[in-house]
């Protein structure tokens, strides 16, 4: 009852009169005139305890945290782990030797220098950037479990094993942004005015109202984004954060069954097709009987069924036609069959199929 001075709410009100607790405390004081003296003393104590704090700015804190992370990422190489296996004593002796430290510091300094240079040019900590851009809100962390995650905006996320999703509590009202660690299937509610962003440490995916899969598991050397329905844009974090004029063009657009693979070692994006393309959501794969059907038409139907662009030399293949029954196989089964029939071959280039054939005139 009398612990006013140690009450956070009272303190907030005393030090900041415009606090939300304002009306509560003004009311309280009016209703308890007998407590006036007590209030006065509690206030005096709060003023007396008010410290001249050494101010540290948010930027400085960010810098310190960044420094710490750089140090610790290098750390295990230079410092022994104090494991439970009783090597303690031996290490202690070594740790006491000043030469050891001189050496360690030198190595660490060189390492850190290189690392800072490398990081400054290649990577930023996306999670930290994400968290600090949502500083004013509450950020929730959802760990994988059996049930899909229902986001406040109506989008649904299914998290893969030991994956995590960070999202701000008021996702529906502001920019729609989440941070993913691990892998997840996203089914995004259409909201043309508010793009949905999925951040990972390597790639940033932007979608308007589609479904896609993001796979970003630290142990794997690569990150992938796969479009399931509709289009998504994928950016390398470096391109995404760069403010340059070309940044708008630096993303890669994916259509269904296309996938982008980011190789962390090479820091490179490659667009390709998924291993088992699926017919588009609203299309049914059915048995098709072709009887001397022009090849243009066959490819056209395949293109339409899977949403995968197929390029070929129209002139050269003008003479080709297909007589076959196709159905039930995978996309590549069908493609193989068709190519065999026209004596051609195909390649996957940049998420497209490119068919080459000398044509069918000779036959």
């Amino acid at each position: 009852m009398e612990d006013l001075a140690f009450s956070r709410s009272f303190r907030n009100w005393v030090l900041n009169r415009e606090s939300p607790e304002k009306s509560f405390w003004e009311h309280w004081i009016k209703r308890h005139p007998d407590k006036a003296e007590m209030v006065k003393y509690a206030k005096a104590l709060i003023y007396a305890l008010h410290l001249n704090t050494t101010v540290i700015s948010e930027d400085e804190i960010d810098e310190e945290v960044r420094k710490a992370l750089i140090r610790l990422r290098e750390a295990p190489r230079y410092f022994p782990l104090d494991g439970p296996d009783g090597r303690d004593g031996r290490w202690r002796g070594l740790l006491r030797s000043s030469w050891f430290w001189v050496g360690a510091v030198l190595i660490a300094a060189i390492g850190c220098g290189g690392f800072i240079f490398y990081r400054a040019h290649a990577h930023r900590d996306v999670l930290q950037t994400f968290l600090s851009s949502h500083k004013k809100e509450r950020v929730q962390v959802q760990v994988a479990n059996a049930r899909p995650v229902d986001l406040p905006d109506g989008s649904v996320v299914r998290l893969g094993k030991s994956s995590k999703l960070y999202f701000p509590a008021n996702l529906d009202r502001t920019r729609r942004e989440v941070f993913l660690e691990g892998e997840a299937f996203f089914d995004i509610r259409k909201e043309p005015a508010a793009p949905f962003y999925v951040y990972t440490n390597q790639l940033i995916t932007r979608a308007l109202g589609t479904s896609f899969v993001v796979h970003s598991i630290p142990a794997d050397g690569w990150t992938t984004v796969t479009a399931v329905t509709g289009k998504v844009s994928v950016y390398r974090q470096e391109d995404f954060y760069s403010r340059s004029a070309e940044s708008g063009r630096a993303g890669i657009i994916l259509t269904p069954n296309q996938e982008v693979v980011y190789d962390r070692g090479e820091d490179r994006l490659q667009k390709t097709l998924i291993a088992m393309p699926e017919p588009l959501g609203d299309k049914r794969d059915s048995l098709r009987v072709y009887q001397g059907t022009p090849i243009r038409q066959v490819f056209g139907q395949l293109e339409e069924l899977y949403g995968i662009p197929i390029q070929f030399d129209e002139e050269a293949l003008d003479s080709c036609s297909l007589t076959a029954t196709i159905g039930n196989g995978s996309f590549y089964d069908k493609l193989n069959l068709i190519c065999k029939a026209i004596g051609g071959s195909y390649e996957v280039i940049d998420g497209y199929i490119v068919v080459t054939s000398r044509g069918c005139k000779a036959r």
Partner: protein, 198 residues
């Protein structure tokens, strides 16, 4: 104030950190940095020294992450670890390490705090000054206990944990401190019951 401040999320980040997740560790230290820095600068005005100690602390935590225990009070764990580190550092550089002489800077160091614009009621200025005087007459440990109660909403057990003393000592520290304040300030007695002892 901070992005991730729920106890559960704190705990989650802590456990992630113990599993070797550097991003979680980064988020964790980002959240607690302001409080740790604030507490650290109570021991010394040398902000660079505090930053330095914090860097060492983070590195040690990381290196020892696998042997660090699970804790539900991450903040207090960190405060305690920082305190131990600073004590050792300051002890080494100044007074060969006697705990009693720990340089917990007087809460009221410098004459400026009371005069700042924070005080909106003139009539309280005199009273605050008196109270500040009374506070500065307290032992460093008493000041620290009050500070922890006041700034970090730490309860008696948490103060005991951070200061590495037992519960009874904290109780005594606070009790004596408040008795002294009461004596110096004169009246009124009821106000000084404001510490909930349970």
């Amino acid at each position: 104030m901070s992005a991730v401040n729920l106890l559960g999320e704190d705990l989650f980040l802590w456990n992630e950190f113990r599993n070797g997740n550097a991003d979680a560790f980064g988020a964790l230290i980002r959240v607690h940095y302001p409080d740790l820095f604030h507490y650290g600068t109570r021991f010394t005005r040398d902000a660079e020294l505090v930053k330095d100690c914090l860097q060492d602390l983070f590195l040690e935590l990381w290196i020892n992450r696998e042997t660090i225990s699970e804790t539900s009070f991450v903040k207090y764990y960190l405060l305690k670890a920082l305190r131990r580190k600073l004590t050792r550092r300051l002890g080494r550089s100044r007074y060969a390490g006697s705990w009693e002489e720990l340089h917990f800077e007087s809460i009221l160091n410098g004459a400026h705090s009371v005069e700042t614009s924070i005080i909106r009621e003139e009539t309280l200025t005199e009273l605050s000054r008196k109270m500040r005087h009374a506070l500065s007459g307290l032992s460093k440990r008493q000041q620290e206990a009050i500070y922890l109660r006041y700034y970090f909403d730490a309860d008696i057990d948490e103060v005991a944990e951070i200061m590495s003393v037992n519960r009874q000592s904290v109780y005594n520290l606070l009790h004596d401190a408040l008795k002294k304040l009461k004596k110096l300030s004169g009246k009124p007695s009821r106000f000084f019951l404001f510490l909930p002892f349970f």
